[in-house]
């Protein structure tokens, strides 16, 4: 039996003292993470140090992932080339597992502290292979590692005005608010104050990137994913480690650059939405909608991902889903939470007294949710909405359609709890048909979307390109992508001028 031993290497004597402190703190954090007993969090075995006092070497021990990491899975053709509805469902369940793991780690109330990862990438999502006898039905287990290297949040993110002291994460999966000199919108004077503070919303953005890559891999395989990654260029025209956003040269009222989801990413999402495999009523479509509308969203919610102290009615939302084909899997529509109604928070307000107020009762008469989705999820042992004893209320007059509503989209990036809720719905029993999980013939090879290399000349839409970095103006990324960037974090779903080629073809 194998274990993974991480050695914390100091570069010098000054580092040695720091590592000693870090080691103790991380061991304590990892121990707390173990208490979640979450199947999608790498199990921490123990911490030890060895050597003469003051000169010890420091180690952390974990269970060993026999499959490597998520990137290894994506490079493994055996799984992808033999997709079945069962395997698709299992893959999506794994994404859901990661969402619940993250939600659990972020949840102050369950641990007494909240954790954020701060460096989520496919490389620190480890892959535990399935047993041979289960390989027909399971892709294995994905587990988040290095959660102990996360920093505990014992207070609200937006009350910590000095910025994070955690070492830097991986730029590729970093959200725009991490970057210096990058704002969120053209009108963001108040909301940009804590921009340097690495919040739990960092993790949600990273999971948006990773989930999108997962979707690309599931549909287009390793080559498609490789093409996707190589096409996301940074301002210097380099593919790695270009983030999933760009910072336009235009500046907002705070003098900061305006961030938007990367044009190439938008292009891919738009074109995938046109692919028949992503038709309404499929798992891929629901995942795509979730990524583009709630995860890869530049705009932050007013609370900056700090859920501690939120009143229950504010924390709870309900899954709001993509619209279905008429007559197919209709369920009781649910309401998304009114986070948008939360006002600005005084950062000097002491903990834990501050709270938010939801819609006034006289404006929106409250009633308990009686949703089949909630009920089904509860029966599975985890209610998608309420985690607390008091009754969940919502407005009957604000019942949203199944599709992610405009209201929902405008709330800004989702919290991990909402991510989890949405994933709960996707894997719920009501979606459990083969057609939902796999709507295309996996035996036919699908080409990746082809970029329209000459479209710029065809459109003549020079205004749309003028604020793009040079790399995007010289044809490296199609203007079609650029035009899809009207609203930060929102994908224009109108028909792209160039239809991607999804025609099946021989290998």
């Amino acid at each position: 039996m194998y274990v993974a031993v991480k050695k914390l290497d100091p570069e010098n004597d000054k580092d040695r003292n720091k590592i000693s402190n870090d080691w103790e703190r991380e061991a304590e954090s990892l121990q707390k993470m173990n208490s979640l007993r979450h199947p999608n969090i790498v199990r921490f075995i123990g911490a030890f140090r060895r050597g003469d006092k003051g000169r010890e070497d420091h180690y952390l021990m974990f269970e060993w992932a026999d499959g490597g990491n998520l990137r290894s899975l994506w490079e493994n053709s055996e799984v992808r080339d033999h997709l079945t509805p069962m395997l698709m469902k299992d893959a999506v369940k794994q994404i859901r597992g990661l969402a619940t793991a993250l939600s659990g780690a972020h949840d102050f109330e369950s641990l007494g502290v909240a954790f954020r990862h701060g460096d989520l990438t496919p490389k620190n999502i480890l892959w535990f292979k399935p047993k041979e006898t289960d390989a027909h039905a399971s892709i294995g287990t994905l587990k988040i590692t290095d959660l102990g290297l996360a920093k505990q949040h014992t207070q609200l993110t937006h009350l910590r005005m000095n910025g994070t002291s955690n070492p830097g994460g991986t730029k590729r999966y970093a959200p725009p608010e991490e970057a210096e000199d990058v704002g969120q919108s053209s009108d963001a004077l108040e909301t940009e104050k804590p921009i340097k503070v690495r919040s739990r919303l960092y993790d949600v953005w990273a999971m948006g990137c990773i989930t999108l890559e997962f979707i690309v891999w599931l549909r287009y395989g390793s080559k498609g994913l490789k093409a996707f990654n190589e096409q996301i260029l940074n301002e210097d025209g380099e593919a790695y480690p270009a983030p999933f956003y760009i910072a336009r040269n235009k500046r907002n009222r705070n003098g900061k650059k305006i961030a938007e989801v990367h044009p190439t990413v938008v292009w891919w999402m738009n074109h995938m939405a046109e692919d028949s495999a992503f038709q309404q009523g499929t798992a891929l479509r629901d995942l795509l909608d979730l990524v583009r509308d709630r995860l890869l969203v530049v705009k932050l919610p007013p609370t900056y991902g700090a859920s501690f102290g939120l009143s229950s009615s504010m924390k709870r939302g309900s899954p709001s889903r993509s619209s279905r084909e008429p007559g197919s899997r209709e369920t009781t529509p649910l309401q998304t939470p009114h986070v948008g109604a939360v006002g600005n928070i005084n950062p000097n307000t002491p903990l834990p007294k501050f709270s938010f107020s939801g819609p006034k009762e006289d404006e929106h008469p409250a009633q308990p949710i009686q949703s089949p989705t909630c009920q089904a999820a509860s029966e599975r042992g985890r209610a998608p909405g309420p985690r607390h004893s008091e009754s969940l209320t919502q407005s009957s007059s604000q019942v949203a359609p199944r599709a992610l509503s405009e209201h929902s989209k405008n709330q800004g990036r989702a919290l991990a709890e909402e991510f989890e809720r949405q994933m709960d719905y996707i894997v719920s029993d009501e979606n459990d048909t083969d057609a939902y999980w796999l709507s295309w013939d996996p035996n036919q090879v699908v080409s990746k979307p082809e970029y329209p290399q000459t479209e710029r000349q065809e459109t003549g839409d020079t205004n749309a390109n003028e604020a793009l970095p040079e790399a995007h103006q010289n044809g490296a990324v199609p203007p079609a992508a650029a035009r899809g960037l009207g609203v930060p974090g929102k994908v224009v779903v109108s028909r792209p001028p160039h239809r991607p080629c999804f025609a099946d073809q021989n290998r």
């Binding site: 039996m1 194998y2 274990v3 993974a4 031993v5 991480k6 050695k7 914390l8 290497d9 080691w23 103790e24 061991a27 990892l30 121990q31 707390k32 173990n34 208490s35 007993r37 199990r43 921490f44 075995i45 123990g46 911490a47 030890f48 140090r49 060895r50 050597g51 003469d52 010890e56 070497d57 021990m61 269970e63 060993w64 026999d66 460096d119 620190n124 535990f128 047993k131 006898t133 287990t141 290095d146 290297l149 070492p167 830097g168 991986t170």
Partner: protein, 205 residues
């Protein structure tokens, strides 16, 4: 060589951790020492009034002391039985291990049983590490002392399987094989361990 000595030494396995290699007697072999083994070793003293007490003391509190002295050839019969009796009388059990190296002040073993630094204490000091290999337990939130401090000479139940690979800015990760008797997983939470345990169960696939 006595059967018990032979059994213990035959069970020795290799360790290689972070540049240090060594051998150790696995936990299971030490735990497997029975009263009968001890009685057999001291059969010439079965008429001694304290015989059963000594056997009980060794079996319940001093298996490692007994095994180190036996396998290391630290003391020969009949002094071996007398030494274990002294340990019992002085309350010197496995809990006192590891012994400290000899120094300027009189060593505790000199005070208890008159051992001289050379060669007895030196040999005991060197031999003891093979029998003091830690058993890790998957940490839980209720575990008070989940962090371990090990001496430089401590042998760990690990064998390196791969060169390290970078793990972000926090050092390197190495793959190690851990001796199965040196990892306790009360909740079957470590997936690979659980699977292997299941695989070993009769009738399981």
């Amino acid at each position: 060589m006595a059967p018990l000595t032979n059994r213990l030494l035959m069970s020795v396995v290799e360790s290689e951790f972070d540049g240090a290699s060594g051998e150790f007697v696995p936990e299971g072999s030490i735990n497997a020492i029975t009263k009968k083994d001890i009685e057999e070793e001291f059969r010439d003293f079965e008429n001694d009034a304290a015989f059963s007490d000594v056997v009980e003391f060794i079996h319940s509190k001093a298996k490692r002391l007994f095994a180190i002295a036996l396998c290391g050839g630290i003391v020969e019969h009949p002094a071996f039985y007398d030494t274990m009796t002294l340990f019992m009388n002085e309350g010197f059990s496995d809990e006192k291990l590891p012994i400290k190296p000899w120094g300027s002040t009189p060593h505790e073993l000199t005070l208890i049983c008159g051992w001289s630094p050379l060669p007895k204490i030196r040999n005991f000091y060197k031999e003891q590490w093979q029998f003091l290999v830690p058993v890790f337990q998957v940490t839980t939130e209720n575990q008070e002392d989940s962090n371990h401090d090990f001496e430089r000479n401590r042998i760990l139940p690990l064998t390196k399987c791969s060169e390290g690979f970078d793990s972000g800015s926090f050092g390197k990760v190495y793959k190690y094989k851990i001796h199965p008797q040196h990892l306790i997983d009360p909740e079957n939470s470590v997936r690979s361990l659980f699977q292997e345990t299941q695989a070993l169960k009769p009738g399981s696939r």
